[in-house]
């Protein structure tokens, strides 16, 4: 009878706690529960009891954190995220530990009724958390209704607008480098046409890769993965970009540039994208895809495929390897799980060797530039420091083969290319700015 009376107050209290269910309350519970239990009957609560509860709350607290950590993750390479996640878990454990010494171990051991109370508290706690988690999950369901306000943002992400901007800027650099008088109309038509072609290619790429993108951290927030746009709309958008884009290039600029644009779309969507899952040769195909835009820029200006165009293409081609190989080094787990055939997974030594080889090739190609009258001899001299620096990082990546060297090489490649193109434009053979001074 006395045991039944003992069980009375905690049961009523737990009833109160189940009622206080909204999300923030789940976190406050450890403190509230322990405080109330302590107030009711200090002798009744044992050290083991509290330890058990503490462990339960710590586990759930951790689960809560780990659940939240996932949606917060940005498209950053997973290794960096892992560190952050572990750090958060560690700090939580340190916070909760100091509470237990408050209640010193008593001489009483857990009797059957106390154990029942603990069990039922645990069951109620689980149910409460389950219902809370379910309502939380229900809020994450979204209606698949296209909001016109969101459409520009969605289409920008679908067409990978930042990458498109980079592609257009390399095409513009190719146009500006060509040894002909600068024609503004032609330049604008080329830029718009190349931009539209790039948007189309990127949209089709995302259309093909929905389930694969869902499984990779870097790409899981893309519009088609999140269901913000239907596949039909994505394909329609791609077609409505490709047709005007190629038409603009063919009719507004010249047929050669149009043909190169169409070929590049084909190469990217029908060769590179499926090949990513079949063979490591996809990297070389992808490098050609990256090399074509500056060639297009040059042919738009001159109307012919000169050695200068091929040199520019060659520089972009070589640049792709340190850039992509370094990036892929940190994504090996996702590639392996998703079934992507990348050098970094299947042939790691080759991956690093090729990256280094092409860093050195950049020095060679920069030296060939003045020979072909693309630039003056100042260009290979002034660009030597940055070319040597990227080669040095390429060598470190080759030798060390770790995350930090791959990261350094990747981030270097991001500023190396714009700087190299800027130097090429500055020391352009035809209209060198220095000649004016």
């Amino acid at each position: 009878m006395s045991a039944a009376r003992r069980c009375g107050p905690p049961r009523a209290l737990t009833g109160l706690f189940v009622w206080h269910l909204p999300k923030p309350a789940v976190r406050q519970m450890p403190c509230k529960f322990m405080h109330c239990c302590g107030v009711v009957n200090k002798r009744w609560i044992t050290f083991q009891h509290l330890n058990f509860l503490k462990r339960m709350y710590v586990t759930q607290y951790n689960k809560d954190l780990s659940q939240q950590a996932k949606p917060k993750s940005d498209p950053v390479a997973p290794p960096f995220l892992e560190k952050k996640h572990l750090g958060q878990e560690k700090t939580v454990i340190r916070e909760i530990r100091p509470v237990s010494p408050l209640h010193p171990p008593s001489s009483e051991t857990l009797n059957r009724n106390e154990f029942k109370a603990v069990n039922s508290a645990a069951v109620v706690e689980d149910l409460a958390t389950a219902v809370g988690a379910e309502s939380k999950e229900e809020k994450q369901w979204k209606e698949m209704k296209l909001q016109l306000d969101d459409l520009p943002g969605i289409l920008a992400r679908l067409s990978k607008i930042k990458l498109t901007a980079l592609v257009v800027s390399t095409a513009s650099a190719g146009f500006a480098m060509a040894p002909v008088p600068f024609d503004l109309t032609c330049f604008l038509l080329t830029s718009i046409g190349t931009g539209l072609a790039s948007c189309a290619a990127n949209s089709i790429n995302q259309f093909f890769e929905v389930p694969f993108d869902s499984n990779m951290n870097r790409t899981k927030n893309r519009p088609l993965v999140r269901g913000q746009i239907s596949p039909l709309l994505a394909v329609s958008f791609a077609a409505s970009c490709a047709v005007p884009g190629i038409a603009l290039l063919t009719l507004g600029v010249n047929p050669l540039t149009g043909a190169l644009g169409a070929f590049n779309i084909f190469l990217y969507t029908c060769c590179y994208t499926p090949m990513k899952r079949m063979s490591i040769i996809n990297t070389w195909v992808g490098a050609v895809v990256g090399a074509i835009p500056p060639i297009m820029g040059w042919t738009a200006a001159t109307g012919s495929l000169d050695a200068g165009a091929l040199l520019l293409g060659g520089i972009l081609y070589s640049w792709q390897f340190p850039h992509f190989n370094a990036l892929s080094w940190g994504l090996r787990e996702d590639y392996s799980r998703g079934g992507y055939c990348m050098m970094s997974v299947t042939h790691p030594a080759m991956c690093r060797r090729v990256a280094l080889r092409h860093c050195l090739a950049l020095i060679g190609l920069s030296t060939v530039a003045p020979i072909l009258d693309v630039t003056t001899w100042n260009f290979p001299l002034i660009s030597l420091p940055i070319n040597l620096y990227i080669s040095y990082l390429g060598f470190r990546f080759y030798r060390d083969a770790d995350r930090s060297s791959s990261r350094k090489l990747f981030f270097c490649s991001l500023w190396h290319l714009p700087m190299l193109l800027l130097l090429m434009l500055t020391y352009n053979g035809a209209e060198s700015l220095l000649l004016f001074f």
Binding site: E134, Q140, M144, F207, N215, A401
Partner: protein, 199 residues
């Protein structure tokens, strides 16, 4: 305690009671997954069965990524005047969703399992335990895991080839059917407008 537990169960039951009224308006791939999975004697893997869209909604609903497959389940809306073509599209999408869910769930589960076994065998070879002093799981660096990644990729290569071919076919079919349905709807609306104008 009993009262509290009963209250929680009643709350859960209330949600499901609302669902039963709207169940015929929405078809769930989760139900499909449950059926197919039950046939093969496996646990249903999709969470779509626990969600119920509001009755007034005329659109599909997409959920959070599944914990095993990382794919987002869709609850498809059945319109009142669904054409045979529309029904074919919806059922094909549902079937594709179930097929995708099963492939990726099994793929990810086998990856995680293989990774755990690999880490265990490597740590054992080093003479270390799975859990460190702080109670945290010991993980190997990416360099040490590289052998596992390469091995896993080559082992699953053929599986991925078959999956890729099937996925591309299904994706094209779904998009083509979507186009046909959209065209059909537009044609119907045009035809309906014409009869209105005629009257």
């Amino acid at each position: 305690m009993a009262e509290a537990a009963a209250a929680a169960v009643r709350a859960g039951r209330r949600v499901r009671h609302v669902c039963s009224g709207t169940r015929r308006c929405f078809s769930r791939a989760g139900g499909g997954a449950g059926l197919l999975a039950a046939e093969r004697g496996r646990e249903p893997e999709s969470r779509a069965s626990s969600f119920c869209p509001p009755a007034h909604s005329c659109n599909d609903w997409i959920g959070p990524p599944d914990s095993q497959s990382n794919l987002r389940p869709i609850v498809f809306h059945i319109p009142k005047n669904e054409s045979p073509l529309g029904r074919r599209l919806r059922e094909f999408r549902q079937e594709t969703q179930v097929w995708n869910q099963q492939f990726w769930a099994s793929q990810n589960v086998s990856f995680r399992k293989g990774k755990e076994e690999f880490i265990y065998s490597r740590l054992k070879a080093k003479g270390l335990e799975m859990k460190g002093e702080t109670g945290q799981k010991v993980t190997l660096s990416a360099e040490e895991m590289a052998d596992f990644y390469k091995d896993f990729l080559s082992k699953n290569f053929k599986k991925h080839m078959c999956y890729n071919r099937e996925w591309y076919k299904r994706n094209f079919t779904i998009t083509f059917l979507m186009g046909q349905v959209a065209f059909e709807r537009a044609w119907r609306r045009l035809g309906w407008k014409k009869t209105k104008v005629g009257n």
